[in-house]
């Protein structure tokens, strides 16, 4: 079911439960895919999705009807994602390196053989891994620009950073991704 923002507010006033359900169905894909790309795994993405929607539902009563909903949803999602990793900095990451180069996850036994890993390391996986190496702000900027196809001005507004800062984040992020893709030999140039 797809209804315009105005239609949504009408339904929401009549039946709160139904209104929230519509809102959830309409934006779940947006929120989840962004959270997944940002957090890098399903569990965290689910946690984030829940946090985002609880926050949206709770503040919906104070939401001004004349504003459109999508930019607001984007903003909440982005904020929750950025805060999520900030709060989690204390936790040990499997990507954390010890003794110089070795990552913790390398020490854990894997059912995959090295051979199969190398064979199937395709563009998608390489891109995934490369995006995950970025700092949280760089990653968010790259995701919003390239995965969600947002305009520079919109991203800057959503992330609440100046346009110049956003450009720097994108420049640095792309540079890191490119270096990582070249290192993985994804493009034969």
């Amino acid at each position: 079911m797809d209804v315009s923002d105005a239609g949504f507010h009408k339904i929401y006033k009549k039946n709160k439960h139904q209104g929230l359900e519509i809102l959830y169905d309409r934006y779940k894909k947006y929120v989840y895919t962004l959270a997944y790309r940002y957090a890098g795994n399903k569990e965290d993405a689910m946690d984030l999705t829940q946090e985002v929607f609880v926050s949206i539902f709770k503040s919906l009563d104070n939401f001004k009807e004349e504003l459109s909903i999508l930019p607001w949803v984007k903003r909440i999602t982005v904020n929750k994602c950025l805060n999520f990793l900030r709060d989690r900095k204390e936790a040990i990451s499997l990507n954390q390196t010890i003794d110089g180069d070795l990552e913790i996850q390398d020490l854990i036994c894997s059912p995959e053989t090295t051979e199969s890993k190398v064979q199937y390391f395709d563009t998608k996986q390489a891109l995934d891994a490369a995006i995950h190496k970025l700092s949280s702000e760089e990653r968010m900027a790259v995701i919003l620009r390239h995965m969600k196809g947002m305009k520079y001005e919109d991203i800057a507004r959503t992330m609440d950073v100046p346009l110049g800062t956003l450009k720097t984040l994108l420049h640095r992020g792309r540079k890191t991704i490119k270096e990582s893709m070249v290192k993985d030999g994804i493009w034969e140039v």
Binding site: E21, M46, M147, R174
Partner: protein, 143 residues
């Protein structure tokens, strides 16, 4: 890596956010610089992969629909109380939270003790002051 050109300009060129003057300059530069041409090729491949939506395809997990029920229960469940009850709850919480910050402020207890001691000591202090005042005036009168 001898070329001094700011490589970020190449990204801006591909994104179409480059200043027109800089664009002229970069395009002219590319004609003569193999290093930058190679960099540009790599960047084009990067943009191609970055903008390829199929690289981001993921299946939405079925749990997402279960989550809807959980969240709705959580949110709609809390507001099923009457508005008056909610307001009273909030007020009660506010009142009990009002003083708790004092427990966390350093030095509050110590300064309370100091003030108490100070008040106790005050009479003798006033006595001393007035005595010295009297002594002072006597001295002045003698002069």
């Amino acid at each position: 890596m001898n070329c001094k050109l700011d490589k970020f300009l190449l990204q801006d060129l591909l994104e179409g956010v480059i200043d027109p003057l800089e664009q002229l300059f970069v395009e002219e530069h590319l004609k003569s610089c193999t290093e930058c041409r190679k960099e540009l090729t790599e960047l084009k491949l990067l943009f191609w992969d970055l903008n390829d939506k199929s690289n981001y395809d993921i299946a939405l997990p079925a749990e997402l629909d279960v989550l809807k029920g959980t969240i709705l229960e959580k949110v709609v469940g809390t507001v099923s109380k009457s508005p008056a009850e909610v307001v009273i709850d909030i007020q009660r919480k506010n009142v009990s939270a009002l003083g708790t910050f004092l427990n966390l402020v350093p030095g509050v207890k110590a300064s309370n003790k100091l003030v108490k001691d100070g008040v106790k000591a005050a009479p003798s202090a006033i006595g001393k002051v007035s005595k010295s005042l009297v002594r002072g005036t006597k001295f002045l009168l003698a002069q």
